[in-house]
């Protein structure tokens, strides 16, 4: 065994012993959900700065929450008004569809049609509203929980499902884990299973856009837990130095599998404040408020497109579902915690707002849900016709050797022959 630990120094002043702080969430299973540490300001109280504001002038915005929808469901304050009723209804449908898609695919996984699935329940507003603030040609570098980016722009559900089923029509040839979509035409970068890596890649893409005198912007996505990875820091350093047109999104859904955001450093500062040390302007936004998300996204995207540089946004939300189909959250947090979440449900809140302004009704909502459920079901049936993970047509073994390089080198041809395919 090793050298003994050197004996603790007992300083002459009899300094008391040190101790290690290990953060724990306020409550664990069995306890009563408690979000008293989440300070929620009144909607409409946070100012909307000019696009060319200096980072130093909005540091306070990293310590509050930008909200538009108030308790009565009315849109209030500087950030209200970025969308008309059509835009809002489009957002609502996108969120409903995302949720319906998740439900259907969760079921498909339970039925053994695929190996794995991840829902975005409770976080739909963020991806949907953000996507609808982008222009064609812009590029997202998403994580696995931004299916809303694709669904909001009506990317074919069948396509997404075929990928999930790893079937013969999977555009990725069965090579990737379910939900690790790639959709270049939809401005959706290939998802990586390795957390964080995409964050700095987005900065590189934006740098390229600037180098080429393009007008397109990039959006980077990361979870609260993953901000601890190195790529988060590299992204901020490069974004700070070269000021490329990139929006640095952090989806703070309070959890990273079983660990609370405190284990990522959320106990002592906000994630939005991370930007300060790099001189990057940042916002902290109610991620369950569709209107706030859209307005903040638009602000940051406009900044980027006008060559005003990067913006970091912390979207405050809550991961309502399990981390993935391999996870059981009742092991580490109270079951009722999501009900206690103070920012509510994004679908309900937008629905109520639309009803409040006379642009929607419970009936229309029920009808929309039914239509969308049917659309999702039809898509699933269609996708299943092309096979599911363990049954029906599937990508060939031969295809496994393709695409490692642009042209297949000799050793891979030899190996393919060895497998006899």
């Amino acid at each position: 065994m090793s050298d003994p630990v050197p004996p603790p120094i007992v300083a002459p002043s009899t300094t008391p012993p040190l101790s290690l702080h290990v953060p724990e969430p306020a409550v664990r299973p069995g306890g009563k959900p408690d979000f008293s540490h989440v300070r929620v300001p009144e909607a409409g109280t946070v100012r909307r700065p000019p696009l060319d504001v200096a980072a130093a002038d909005i540091r306070d915005l990293a310590y509050t929450i930008i909200r538009v929808l108030n308790r009565e469901g009315r849109a209030v304050g500087d950030w209200a008004g970025s969308l008309d009723a059509d835009g809002l209804r489009r957002g609502l449908r996108a969120m409903i569809k995302t949720r319906a898609f998740d439900a259907r695919m969760l079921m498909a996984q339970r039925q053994g049609k695929t190996s794995f699935y991840m829902q975005s329940t409770g976080e739909e507003a963020i991806a949907c509203a953000f996507q609808l603030a982008l222009e064609p040609g812009d590029m997202n570098f998403p994580t696995y929980r931004q299916q809303g980016l694709l669904i909001a722009q009506d990317w074919p559900l069948v396509d997404m499902m075929c990928q999930i089923f790893s079937n013969e029509k999977d555009r990725l040839g069965g090579r990737q884990l379910p939900i690790m979509y790639s959709a270049r035409d939809a401005g959706f970068f290939s998802i990586s299973g390795n957390l964080g890596t995409q964050y700095v890649q987005a900065v590189g893409w934006a740098m390229a856009s600037a180098i080429r005198g393009d007008t397109r912007v990039a959006a980077a996505w990361i979870g609260d837990g993953s901000t601890a990875e190195s790529d988060f820091h590299s992204a901020l350093v490069f974004a700070s130095v070269y000021r490329p047109p990139v929006i640095l999104n952090i989806v703070n859904n309070q959890w990273a599998i079983s660990t609370s955001q405190a284990i990522a450093g959320g106990e002592n500062a906000t994630f939005a404040a991370r930007a300060h040390g790099y001189g990057i302007p940042s916002l902290r936004v109610d991620g369950n408020d569709y209107l706030a998300v859209h307005a903040a996204a638009r602000w940051a995207i406009d900044r980027a497109r006008r060559n005003l540089g990067p913006t970091l946004i912390e979207w405050v939300t809550y991961r309502v579902a399990a981390h993935s189909t391999s996870d059981d959250p009742s092991k580490y947090r109270p079951k009722e915690e999501s009900d206690a979440w103070p920012l509510g449900d994004p679908v309900e809140r937008l629905k109520n707002h639309l009803i409040g302004i006379g642009e929607w009704s419970d009936e229309r909502h029920a009808q929309a849900r039914a239509e969308i459920d049917q659309e999702v079901l039809d898509a699933a049936r269609e996708a299943e016709r092309h096979g599911t993970l363990h049954t029906g047509p599937k990508p060939s073994a031969k295809a496994m050797f393709e695409g490692v390089y642009k042209d297949m080198p000799k050793h891979l041809r030899e190996q393919r022959r060895e497998l006899g395919v």
Partner: protein
């Protein structure tokens, strides 16, 4: 003596070492309260407290980096990388720091780390939950690399790894966590309780690092394997009826060349197995050494049966995995050569 799974054996080893040595600290992503996504550290935080077993931020380089600092202080960190596929962000801290610290400081500071990580495929984990990166470590002087194939070894080897004063990469074939696996994915899952090597003493015991085990004695051909492939080799030998001698390396570095040499000198034939991609895999080193040490005894070319030189695909998992059919073909080929 209980029959336990590999997960239980691993937990048992850590528990035992935490009890024996209060310098042992355990941490990693989801390792504390929840007990790890594979539950290998379940219950340890409750038993030893939050400063002995705790959750970490999602930063593999941070995990290994702080472990090195703790090791330099005099603790004995046992950290978990959630999947071996996620070890690369920590590669610099492992290669440039943990592996070299003793050497560069002439022994003033050491890195008595154990870095555990689940590896290998067979669970439809796709390209980022299936990798076998052992060759990335075997090339690095200063590291030891260990990979058990059963609960008994897992406990004894992990105890040795934790006691070892050098950094040890401890790879755990995740497909073996809950039962042995012959590679016949279409057959019912077998639990560990039916396997003799799931009989694990409750008490402390150590299996010396650097010693291979012969899983099956044989005269016709030497099969060198480790981890999951040991079980595949056993199946292939049984199914082909070829009298293979199956070596379970258990430790890749330091390598038990004596056992290998002795066996190949006897059989004159050698097949090397691993799940990792072929080119520059650890099989290449094994092949080179067998050839260097036993050249004049070889009656046939040494063959490698391995994962292909592609990322580990999702849908084609069983075309990728070097199962008993492919191993059997190699055994026959080497006998006919």
């Amino acid at each position: 003596m209980a029959r336990i799974t590999m997960i239980e054996a691993i937990r048992d080893a850590i528990d035992l070492m935490m009890a024996r040595d209060d310098k042992v600290v355990v941490f990693g992503e989801d390792v504390g309260y929840f007990g790890g996504v594979f539950r290998c550290t379940d219950g340890l935080q409750r038993k030893y407290g939050r400063t002995r077993c705790f959750d970490t931020p999602i930063s593999e380089t941070g995990i290994v980096g702080v472990a090195i600092g703790m090791g330099a202080y005099g603790l004995r960190p046992v950290c978990e990388i959630q999947f071996a596929d996620y070890v690369y962000p920590a590669y610099d801290q492992i290669v440039s720091e943990a592996a070299r610290l003793r050497y560069r400081s002439a022994g003033e500071f050491t890195s008595p780390l154990t870095i555990r990580m689940p590896c290998g495929g067979g669970i439809f984990g796709g390209q980022t939950h299936s990798q076998s990166p052992e060759a990335c470590f075997t090339h690095v002087s200063g590291l030891k690399t260990v990979i058990p194939s059963n609960p008994y070894d897992a406990k004894g080897l992990l105890i040795s790894a934790i006691e070892d004063d050098d950094p040890v990469i401890f790879l755990e074939p995740k497909r073996l966590y809950n039962g042995p696996f012959s590679g016949h994915h279409d057959q019912p899952v077998v639990p560990w309780s039916r396997h003799p090597l799931s009989e694990v003493p409750d008490e402390y015991y150590a299996i010396e690092l650097g010693k291979a085990a012969i899983r099956r004695e044989g005269a016709a051909v030497t099969v060198i394997a480790y981890g999951t492939m040991v079980h595949v080799a056993e199946a292939a030998a049984a199914e082909t009826g070829i009298d293979a001698e199956i070596i379970d390396l258990r430790t890749l570095i330091p390598l038990d060349t004596d056992t290998i040499e002795q066996s190949v000198r006897k059989t004159g034939r050698c097949v090397i197995l691993h799940e990792a991609t072929r080119t520059s895999g650890f099989g290449a080193e094994l092949s080179a050494q067998v050839q260097e040490r036993c050249f004049h005894h070889l009656e046939a070319p040494i063959l490698r049966v391995t994962g292909w030189d592609t990322p580990y695909p999702h849908a084609q998992e069983w075309d990728y995995f070097p199962g008993p059919a492919r191993v059997g073909r190699a055994l026959k080929a080497v006998m006919e050569a």
